[in-house]
């Protein structure tokens, strides 16, 4: 039975929806624009998180980045491209995929990064807690989705009250 593995909703033969709308597409221009926009996204992310996502190195800024070892995460989440398989359409190893793919696979096996927000007060005594919620010692945890959510909410809140 061929239908079983095949597509349940194939494109009907001679479908009128198959058409190009605005003439020929220039692949070269597509690629250039894609690279430029992707570089812009990377730059934005770099400034937002003071982290270079291409080389995976922390930079100076509001966030303190530190390596976290032995999280015990399944390999699936750590080694990009480990699935391989036919769905991997031979992506270019360029900046456009840099947000997803790291520089080298070995780095990812048992190294992950965690970031904490450094308080803005300039005179931060050495060894003091990194944030208001911690009870001594260095804050060391994996960021979770809710962290991003709160910071996002705060940003929106600020914007709406000029």
């Amino acid at each position: 039975m061929t239908e079983r593995s095949g597509d349940a909703r194939p494109v009907p033969h001679g479908s009128k929806a198959c058409r190009r709308l605005f003439g020929p597409v220039d692949s070269e221009q597509l690629r250039r624009d894609c690279d430029a926009l992707m570089a812009g996204c990377l730059q934005e992310a770099r400034e937002r998180w003071n982290f270079d996502f291409v080389t995976e190195t922390p930079l100076e800024g509001n966030f303190a980045w530190e390596p976290v070892k032995g999280l015990g995460l399944p390999k699936l989440y750590l080694t990009p491209g480990s699935r391989g398989g036919p769905d991997d359409l031979g992506r270019r190893p360029s900046t456009s995929a840099a947000l997803l793919q790291g520089s080298s696979q070995e780095d990812h096996v048992d190294l992950s990064l965690s970031c904490t927000l450094v308080p803005r007060s300039p005179e931060r005594p050495e060894g003091s807690p990194a944030g208001p919620g911690t009870s001594g010692g260095r804050k060391r945890r994996q960021t979770s989705m809710t962290d991003f959510y709160h910071s996002k909410r705060r940003l929106i809140f600020c914007k709406r009250r000029p």
Binding site: K16, F22, L37, R91
Partner: protein
């Protein structure tokens, strides 16, 4: 021996959860919906190459693809939301517009469907003017520009909330729902509605659906004015704004009906070609 039955719908649906239809959810939707609106009227301030009629062209094509692929109803309006939000921030040449439309359908379908559209299929629909690899690369670009905020609120999210608060006979509900969904798709093809809150489009669409059906048969015990007032109360919308929105929806419907009739008068076209007019087929069933 053949034991496999291929006629079973492969998509299994969960039963509606009443907990997701209470006021708490409705209030949350109303609170967050404006976060996902495009930030500006981009034909004036961002785009140089793209004209409003081009958005209509790409929207019409996207709707045809979604209908032919029997996508879930939300996929098309959600994809249009992605497209508008991207265009509100990134100046784009018109030659990229169809690729962008394909990427937006790709993302919306992945978010909303059990069996999503594939990259290869979408490329076929562009008459192979783009390659799957390009689609995947641009997927990352669009995700980056949308800041990965894909779970946008669409008018569909409000439909059940609205319908359950109307004094309707149950047997009419599915017809009203179907017409309202058609109006929502119609609104998504027209840029006029791109910056309206989804709740207003949803209430306007339900209002237009009931008022339109009312002319043929009794579907509601309320008069149109009383209905509009009730609808406005449900989604905290200003009554006059809602009236204006509903009138605009009716005008867009009328316009697209005239377009269809014009095409019919042109005569040279076959029934088949008429089927791909800008509106879903059942819009034409509404008698005005």
């Amino acid at each position: 021996m053949e034991l496999l039955c291929c006629e079973v719908d492969p998509v299994r649906r969960a039963v509606p959860d009443r907990n997701l239809l209470d006021d708490r959810v409705l209030q949350n939707l109303l609170t967050i919906e404006e976060r996902y609106l495009p930030q500006c009227s981009y034909f004036k301030c961002v785009q140089k190459d793209i004209q409003p009629y081009m958005r209509r062209m790409v929207a019409t094509w996207m709707l045809e693809v979604c209908e032919e692929q029997k996508c879930e109803e939300e996929v098309f309006p959600l994809a249009m939301n992605y497209l508008d939000r991207f265009l509100a921030g990134v100046p784009t040449p018109k030659t990229h517009l169809q690729l962008l439309g394909a990427v937006c359908m790709f993302l919306a379908s992945k978010l909303k469907e059990t069996i999503p559209l594939t990259a290869e299929k979408l490329c076929i629909y562009t008459d192979n003017s783009i390659k799957p690899q390009e689609l995947l690369e641009w997927e990352l670009v669009v995700l980056g520009k949308l800041k990965w905020n894909l779970a946008a609120v669409t008018p569909h999210d409000f439909i059940e909330h609205i319908l359950r608060k109307l004094p309707q006979q149950r047997e009419k509900l599915s017809l009203i729902r179907k017409h309202a969904q058609t109006f929502i798709a119609l609104c998504a093809t027209d840029f006029k509605f791109a910056m309206y809150p989804p709740s207003m489009i949803a209430t306007g669409s339900v209002g237009a659906a009931i008022c339109g059906l009312q002319q043929d048969e009794e579907v509601s015990s309320l008069t149109c004015d009383a209905l509009t007032e009730l609808l406005a109360k449900i989604t905290n919308t200003d009554v006059d704004c809602l009236k204006a929105c509903q009138e605009q929806i009716e005008a867009v419907l009328l316009n697209s009906l005239q377009q269809v009739r014009q095409e019919q008068r042109d005569g040279s076209k076959t029934e088949d070609e008429l089927d791909q007019a800008t509106t879903p087929t059942d819009v034409r069933d509404i008698d005005l």
